[in-house]
């Protein structure tokens, strides 16, 4: 097995947190998020030298992450059901925080896989419509349509509506 390039390890150390956050928003589960991230990283590692030479390793890894997510959803996660047990967390109002987190997770789970990917790329990763289209290998028009539908679905989602304090209602 070839040794890992040093800069690859540095990249993983520096960017894993952000990528793992995106993976969690896509999968809604910490274990699956870690699985998704590791699969994407394992896929790009053998080509790391060429990816770095291409000049934008983070964009490439992000693309690999989302492509892996979309293909996984088709293969294995067709019947995904969001977990009902929230993770423990600290803070002053733990109950409200957990409720909002759970509401957002359930709302995301109701979106289609592509809508969820568009939401994460556009509103969490802060990519432009063109960049999002490039990552998802679709047209800019598709991104706009999917983003519009996703936002409409989030606004209408009964979980968020019932909570009332989720930010997407503002």
């Amino acid at each position: 097995m070839a040794p890992l390039p040093e800069d690859f390890a540095e990249f993983v150390a520096a960017r894993s947190a952000a990528l793992l956050r995106a993976a969690w928003l896509l999968t809604g589960d910490a274990g699956r998020a870690e699985d998704l991230l590791q699969t994407a990283l394992a896929g790009v590692w053998p080509r790391w030298g060429r990816i770095v030479a291409g000049g934008s390793p983070e964009a490439y890894v992000r693309k690999a992450l989302f492509s892996t997510y979309l293909s996984w959803r088709r293969r294995r996660w067709r019947f995904e059901v969001p977990a009902a047990v929230p993770e423990p967390a600290g803070g002053q109002d733990v109950g409200a925080e957990l409720a909002e987190r759970d509401a957002v997770r359930r709302a995301l789970a109701r979106l289609s896989r592509q809508q969820r990917a568009v939401v994460v790329l556009r509103y969490v990763e802060d990519l432009s419509v063109a960049e999002t289209a490039q990552v998802l290998r679709c047209s800019e028009g598709t991104v706009k349509v999917q983003a519009g539908r996703a936002l409409a679905a989030l606004r209408m989602d009964p979980h968020l509506r019932a909570d009332g304090d989720a930010e997407v209602h503002r």
Partner: protein, 255 residues
């Protein structure tokens, strides 16, 4: 509005703990993936070998060993593959694989390592018409030696009308690949006067434009043709690719 959504989404992410050694886990996962791929390759190679052995025997038994009049025997084994053009055969790669496919032109491409057939020029059949799909990609390669480095996509993928490419591809393959060496274009027979104008290969000091015409024929077999532009001072000089290049340029513009 979008800031609100961003805030809500980010707040929804629970504290996520990284594994003690993520790199080690990635390493193990990559090793497992490589092992699976190796095993699948071995199985595929064994199946292909079995088919290669069984097919001629079956065809011979059925008395149909010469279904295609232009088979491997028409081209001497030692005939070099035409420079700058290489068809590939085999099914289009699945999504996620490197290389050109139907509706797919990777941003970066190693022109000479897509499939073994590109390098060896082992394709031995004309495409079965009508073509089902044609995809055009245009790349810029920094060196005349296409095996050095990678090429960058300049245009494509463009889905071309298959009907407009059937005849040009057929003509190109027929003239470039199947012509016996003694009458091959650009190889004058003894005693014949050479063409009055020379043909120029691309300059080795400039970027090279390479067009890839990826086709899926009527049998579902995918092939691709690499076109390096060759400028001929004599307009009458044999240029088998001229018709195919013109068809490409109608959609992609001149290189």
């Amino acid at each position: 509005m979008t800031d609100d959504i961003r805030g809500a989404l980010i707040r929804a992410v629970p504290p996520l703990t990284a594994p003690p050694d993520r790199i080690a886990q990635v390493r193990r996962r990559a090793a497992r993936t490589r092992g699976r791929r190796t095993a699948l390759s071995l199985i595929a190679a064994a199946a292909a070998t079995g088919l290669a052995i069984a097919t001629p025997a079956l065809l011979s038994a059925a008395g149909s060993g010469r279904a295609d009049s232009r088979t491997a025997g028409d081209r001497p084994a030692n005939q070099p593959f035409p420079t700058g053009a290489a068809p590939t055969s085999g099914p289009a790669g699945p999504d996620g694989t490197d290389g050109v496919g139907t509706g797919r032109c990777p941003a970066e491409l190693d022109l000479m390592s897509q499939t073994p057939a590109v390098v060896a020029g082992q394709d031995q059949r004309l495409p079965a018409l009508p073509l089902r799909a044609v995809t055009l990609c245009r790349y810029r390669h920094v060196a005349f030696d296409l095996s050095a480095g990678t090429a960058s996509r300049r245009a494509g993928p463009v889905q071309a009308p298959p009907g407009e490419f059937g005849a040009p591809v057929d003509t190109y393959v027929d003239q470039r690949i199947w012509r016996p060496p003694s009458t091959a274009p650009g190889t004058p027979s003894p005693g014949a006067s050479p063409p009055s104008g020379g043909c120029l290969m691309p300059s080795p000091w400039k970027d090279v434009s390479v067009d890839i015409v990826h086709t899926v024929d009527a049998r579902g077999i995918a092939r691709q043709y690499l076109l390096m532009r060759i400028t001929c001072a004599n307009p009458d000089a044999p240029q088998p690719a001229r018709q195919l290049e013109a068809a490409v340029d109608r959609l992609l513009g001149p290189p």
